[in-house]
Symmetry: C2
Subunit: 205 residues, 2 copies
Amino acid sequence: MGVRVSSANSLTVDELGSAAQRDRRKRILDATIALASQGGFDAVQMRAVAEQADVALGTLYRYFPSKIHLLVSALQREFERTEAALRDRPVEGDTTADRVINVLKRTTRGMQSDAKLTEALTRAFMFADASVQAEIHQVGMLLTSMLTRVMRPEDHDELTEEDVAIAKVIGDVWLSALVGWVTGRNSAAETGQQIEVAVRLLLRD
Amino acid sequence: MGVRVSSANSLTVDELGSAAQRDRRKRILDATIALASQGGFDAVQMRAVAEQADVALGTLYRYFPSKIHLLVSALQREFERTEAALRDRPVEGDTTADRVINVLKRTTRGMQSDAKLTEALTRAFMFADASVQAEIHQVGMLLTSMLTRVMRPEDHDELTEEDVAIAKVIGDVWLSALVGWVTGRNSAAETGQQIEVAVRLLLRD
DNA sequence: GGACAAACTGGAACGTGTTCCTATTCTAGG
DNA sequence: CCTAGAATAGGAACACGTTCCAGTTTGTCC
């Protein structure tokens, strides 16, 4: 059954590739982001990505074995950038809940400002099966660590099990809220509300 | 933009159809469930559904305008059955948290016993866009009411805003956990654990 | 520089969701 | 019973993800 971790290719290319390979990979991801920003999930067509990245279709599939891998890898790159940007800026808010809410709302706002892109990446994330496990796990870790860092900005080493559990629950709610928004079931305001309510329920101290 | 609520057909057929139409609709959903149980999301191929339901492809599309609509409608029917079955049986557990956990674990176990079917239905649910809003909303309401009923079995009318908010958060976590399990990222045990942790965090009284 | 392997190109081909069209069958109203 | 209109059958056609292949270019080792 489909529990093959077939991302060996992209990983290899990612880590050991020549300059030309790194450049191709970057061009492909850039094209992916551009097309997704413009037209969302449906607009990220493999032939279009290949053409815009100036790469043959077969080569595209050599770097990313499926459209889902492609989009999740793009998500991973974007998320790493977001996380790095967040690392620099100070976190406002006195209570833990305030800080978490601020960070999540800031991030959510950033994603909502590029709705089509977010739709494409979120869809891919939700549709990814076990063959994309590595990339998915990476994103999940980034999110959790983003949250715990905000929760315990000083003594990040002394996280309790409960802290981590809370961060994970918040991550789950955030994901559900995002899916609701992406699929047009919730407005942006409702999405923010949904997250805020969850955080206040979980962090009342 | 795709924000058309194009489910008028299936709704009409559902509510006002002749006996023959109700029968066709049932045959189609039965075929969908059968194929999904056997081979999951990928095995629910529109041509196969049509053939097994003894219906032309065009007719299938007349009843359900897309594969996603088809699967979400199937999910809705299954969920209504689950909810009805749950209504009869008494809820075990002394504390609120215990009851909620029991219900969720029971439901989750039921879904995990037909993994392929659950995979198909969950995938469809996560992929559904605004055009399936009506059906999705229905399922969400069922889930929330299922949870609040278990939380306040006696005085179900006196639900506080917080009760409903908690139920929604739990629903979000359940959905995320389900997606994690369906996509092969979490084991069944981890899924149950994930839900239990969230419930205990949210219902500590 | 030459030889070999790996990577890339260009494009054909296949599967499945979706659309469309024509002929046939069913259903309701007279 | 007859007829107009709706619903269905049967199947061709199209779009896009994916696979595959033959020929060419690139990179590496001697």
